[in-house]
């Protein structure tokens, strides 16, 4: 079964034809070419597919593409503005918060959602906010530090 879906991704409008059983993740990746969101588990456990759907982060592997009709979606590709990295992106590379990089887009999306709601989170608040994202390389240490660093950078910029 095919359906037409109209949505905004990173501020740009798109209309695509999707299979009704297709996930938002697959539509973003294979219909629209946004390869930042990744599929690590397909079950909403690893958070590698995290995107913003109408302002709230979701696991895009657990959303049917048809459910996103009329929605606004942000992927990691939408974070850098005019070639300038988002402070979180900068903090991740400056603190060495990634090794293989596969989980990184999901972590950055979750961290961004946290900092928008809570600009000065404690370590425990960061850990809680990121607990829907799995990383197997870093032990999370430098990821948590990167979010702290980005929080400070955002405060300085404000």
């Amino acid at each position: 079964m095919k359906r037409e879906v109209t949505l905004q991704v990173n501020g740009e409008p798109y209309t695509i034809i999707v299979d009704t059983r297709e996930t938002l993740l697959d539509a973003l990746r294979y219909r629209l070419g946004f390869m930042g969101p990744k599929e690590g588990c397909g079950n909403g456990n690893c958070g590698s597919c995290t995107v913003t759907l109408n302002g709230a982060i979701v696991d895009s592997c657990l959303v049917f593409a048809v459910e996103a009709d009329g929605a606004e979606v942000t992927t990691v590709e939408g974070l850098a503005v005019n070639g300038q990295l988002h402070p979180l992106q900068r903090a991740f590379i400056e603190t060495g918060a990634l090794q293989c990089g596969f989980c990184t887009p999901g972590f950055i999306m979750s961290a961004k959602a946290l900092l928008e709601r809570n600009p000065h989170p404690t370590e425990q608040e960061i850990r809680l906010a990121l607990s829907g994202n799995l990383c197997r390389c870093t032990g999370y240490d430098k990821i948590v530090r990167a979010v702290m660093a980005a929080s400070e950078a955002l405060a300085r910029a404000a």
Binding site: D19, R21, R29, Y30, F34, M35, G36, P37, K38, E39, G40, C41, G42, N43, N45, C46, S48, T75, V76, E77, L79, A80, L85, L88, Q89, F92, I93, E94, T95, G96, L98, Q99, C100, G101, F102, C103, T104, P105, I108, E123, I126, R127, L128, L130, S131, N133, L134, C135, R136, C137, T138, G139, Y140, D141, K142, I143, V144, R145
Partner: protein, 760 residues
Amino acid sequence: MELQEHKFKVIGTRPIRHDGVDKVTGRAKYGADISLPGMLHAKVLRSPHAHARIKSIDVSAALALPGVKAVITGKDLPELPPGSQQMGELVVNPRYLSMNIMARDKVLYDGHAVAAVAATSPHIAEEALKLIKVEYEILPPVLDVRKAMQDDAPILLPELRTSGTPEKSDKPTNIASQVRFARGDLEAGFRAADVIVEREFTTSMVHQGYIEPHNAVAQYNADGHGTIWVSTQGPFSVRELCSHILQMPLGNIKVVPAEIGGGFGGKTTVYLEPLALLLAKKTGRPVKMVMSRAEVLRATGPTSGSYIRCKMGATKEGKITAAQVWMAYEAGAFPGSPVGAGCMTILAPYALENLQIDGFDVVLNKPKTCAYRAPGATNAAFAAETVIDELAEKLGIDPLEFRRRNGAKEGTAQPAGPQFRRIGYIETVEAIMNSEHYRSPLPHVPGKLVGRGVASGFWFNAGFQSTAIVSINSDGTANVVTGSPDIGGTRAACAMIAAEVLGLKAEEVNPVVTDTESIGHTDVTGGSRVTFATGYAVYEAAQDAVRQLKERAATIWKVKPEDVVYQDGVVSCVNNGHEPMTLKQLAGRLARAGGPVTGRAAVNPRGVGPGFATHVVDIAVDPETGKVDILRYTAAQDVGKAVHPSYVEGQIQGGVAQGIGWALNEEYYYDENGIMRNTGFLDYRIPTCLDLPMIETILVEVPNPGHPLGIRGVGEVPIVPPPAAIANALYRAIGVRMTELPMSPAKVAKAVLEKNKAPQ
């Protein structure tokens, strides 16, 4: 050109990694991100039984489904002769490998591949799988390593005979091989002991747990050449293994390594690659295969569960007099557990005169194991480091002091024989002894039992073959090309090594990981070898470039090359008279001075520097639920020379996190029929962000005498100590020695209950 450590300008700094921006913006291309025009999607049908004979497979209904382009089964793969060969860190048996990626007459574990379908969409391929009719004759499975060794156990591989036995037997068996290391007089050693501790340990099969599932995209051309794009640790291994399995000439296969989303040893072999290439050949179209998480867990390389018996004796003065170990490792469905490495690592941190270690490689109805970060060493250290802790406790000696008294140093003979060169084991013990963590009191946590534990670990690290090319660009920057996929920041390390030699900034060097046709043979990213061995090749290639640059300057200045000096990116002439040239100036003149400069090196370095680590952990235990919280963790490790300290710390922190997961919650959970019940990240419980504290690291730098820059491998040894360290902390907290991994809440709660029930 000699580099002096105190003069390092780039090595030891923390530049931004070269692939960083790609990875934070979603641009980095992993295997599953690759699409080709006309591409088909293939899926694998997997066995629902742990052990069964395949009586028949009927694929006709699947083939008839619109959109299905090809179906393959075991019959489509060539039969291969028996026999093994060494490939880098792994011993590989192509026949068994082929039988593992596609079952022939028998399925040997839940998830064993039985058929594969290529179709125009992944959904159609999946629906076609349901239409394949497989008739099985179910056989009894064997899931426990000790049961698998018994005479009456169900036999997995009828042709298997034990290798390494003193006498040849022609009896079918599940024991693939046995190995013994022995020296000294064991009985005399135990007689000399004032205290003897003997315990049995079991550990569960655990998975590497990389977040990126296996993938492969293959294309086959009418001229018999094939290309595979894949997230792999070893593009050259993939080429070689596919060549064996499909009986294709090696030179007809090109493997292009995509970015890789974690491997930890698990992506050093093949699962999908030969199937994708075979389906591409059958259909004439590109074929993409991506595993689901459940497939990854059910059918790709976990590491061995094990049974280990460990006995050690020591004198009142705290000297270990004898050690005896008996260990059986689960190989999975085909031979090849890391029991040999387990035997060689288990006592390696200690100077021992009398020892005997017996190891057994045992097949059973679980997935074929694959390398996992210091393969075999973590299970082993769990046993040995617990016994060491108990000996120290019984003798009333601080556990670190006990280790220091017995610790291996330069000249100590390893269990397997060879003597250590300069190593930094004792230094790691002392680093923890002197750490703020070890010196500070245990925190009090209301309602919880707290404990502190320590443990050490050893890993050989690997050398093996690497090739590197360093090209000088006309603007004085450089490109570094290697064949080592970058899992954890090795591009940056390679670029930094070249930058150090060339006198450039790290960001003036562009590191590239290329395909099997664009660089010479390079073994897998594994064995903690990339910064050591590929870094060695980069170092040599950069030196080669420097030599050529000096020759070019000599040509320009019309002097002898030996009169030219290259220092910090500037060429100068000892005879003065010539204005020194920066690399940028010289590079701009190369076109008229003999053409471009490209340094090359291919190495197989022998001077591998082993890795040692000592860890300390504080835990809090909920005595009612048995749940363990990690309060604080500090890891000290001899890292030789930390090229990019952030990524060295990252390796340690990541290894510790995996070790903590292994210690507390990770396990392959099978029901009585041998069906895996926890095939997702929901119930295969790797640590989340909330389960770990910050992981403190102490980088001990004892330069490796076998490397021009003192580099040792760093990636693997950090996973070795955590389970033992946590077990030792648990003992301090609850008063019970935990001897079974994982030390899950249920087991801890039971231990506390039983201890409280027992008469005091």
